[in-house]
């Protein structure tokens, strides 16, 4: 960025442009840069890294952000970042992509399903420092106020020149009052799983339909994980990349296919 200009901060989320979490995020950081909001028109939780290929996408100016430049997009969180970069911002590369604050945890393996984190990872894929924020509270009227000083600290640190390249930070906040949050811990992603359940119901015409639900189980006893940090009252930060290669398995897989 030009030294006399404010940094350009692109903000998206997956709960939709009118969610309390993104409005809180914008409020927390609006003096730290020039803000452009491009977020889904409707909630897109659980969309993972989905993009819209088979449908067209709509984009409209949002009326919910006063004087700020804000757009709502009919697509996924990743579509929002792509459309922002290529249509709205054009030649202006953002200095930072922020996503969230998500209503609910995106720690551990939830990162894989998370639209919030996928928007941040899309930013990282474009070589832009990127951060996804999530609060461990699913309430649509959750109180995000305790996140404020930590969001500002993370954003200020991320705008310096030492952000690791092609990386997105996965920041999760414990659902605690500010005085009970012990600080920040940089962590690895915990091994864990979702034990899904499907509720099988009958519609008025007698046909089956299903609702997905499930319970999260931490399988990782390590004290260096995001789950451990959150359980102990810390804000967790996991640096995430998008190289899925299981390097530790390459030799074993080579063995499987030896001619």
């Amino acid at each position: 960025m030009n030294e006399i200009e404010k940094p350009l901060i692109l903000i998206s989320n997956d709960d939709g442009i009118n969610a309390k979490g993104i409005k809180s995020l914008v409020d927390f950081v609006k003096d730290l840069g020039e803000i452009v909001v491009v977020a889904p028109s409707f909630p897109q939780s659980g969309m993972g890294h989905a993009i819209t290929i088979h449908e067209h996408i709509r984009l409209d100016r949002s009326l919910s952000y006063g004087d700020l430049e804000a757009y709502e997009c009919s697509g996924t969180p990743v579509d929002c970042v792509k459309l922002a970069k290529h249509f709205i911002l054009k030649d202006r590369k953002p200095d930072l992509v922020l996503s969230g604050i998500n209503h609910g945890s995106n720690s551990s393996v939830s990162v894989i399903y998370s639209g919030t984190m996928s928007a941040a990872i899309e930013g990282a894929m474009e070589g832009i420092p990127s951060v996804g924020f999530s609060l461990c509270n699913y309430d649509h009227d959750a109180d995000f106020e305790a996140c404020r000083p930590f969001v500002r600290k993370v954003v200020e640190a991320s705008l310096k020149d030492n952000f690791p390249s092609h990386t997105a930070l996965n920041v999760n906040f414990p659902n605690l009052n500010l005085e009970n949050i012990k600080g920040i811990k940089v962590c690895r992603q915990a091994r864990a799983r979702w034990q899904e359940e499907f509720e099988n119901r009958k519609d008025p015409r007698g046909r089956d339909y299903f609702w997905l639900s499930g319970n999260f189980t931490n399988l990782d006893a390590g004290d260096d994980t995001d789950e451990a940090a959150l359980a102990n009252g810390f804000v967790s930060i996991v640096p995430c990349h998008f190289d899925l290669t299981a390097y530790a398995s390459l030799a074993k897989v080579n063995e499987m296919f030896r001619q």
Copy 2:
């Protein structure tokens, strides 16, 4: 599995249950195990690791697979695997999850956007050996026949006991005749990016709408990548995990947040 039973093979995809790719896959492996097909009712390309949270899911017996046990699901590829495991198969854990054969490449960073690979990664998250197959040909009437011996080789190798745990293989086939395919190479994911473009059109009422398109650019000169293998006429196999932690960046991020 019980030694006197055939292995149980769950098959899904993202192009939809009536795509030529999944029908070819079933045909190639149907004598290698007991096959259960659970695939999306409609094409779901680019769905990444999306799951269906805000909508209910429908599941119906498919009439397209003769005597085979086959179901079409209104949800995403990941929903298909979850629903198969928890509702259709119940206590029977699959010995192998297969996904594909995708109509189009899922090499390099395309793995992040791929519904095909997300179905396989979901299997890996459940601790099931899992493989996603993709042919570098987007035609809906593509000829998958050259994939047959390699699919069988990969499936036979994957049913042995040495499959790396919590791993999914990303198998891509070059768009070549069988006699021109040089063999199999185990690889790492190439660094690359999609240079997106959006076509901006006007609907009959004068409102803007957008179509996503784009071009793939390989940024990786390494000869050990999936892109290099495919370009040289090999079938590429990348073992994929779902721990997104950028371990190499942990120290740098710790430095950013030192108190």
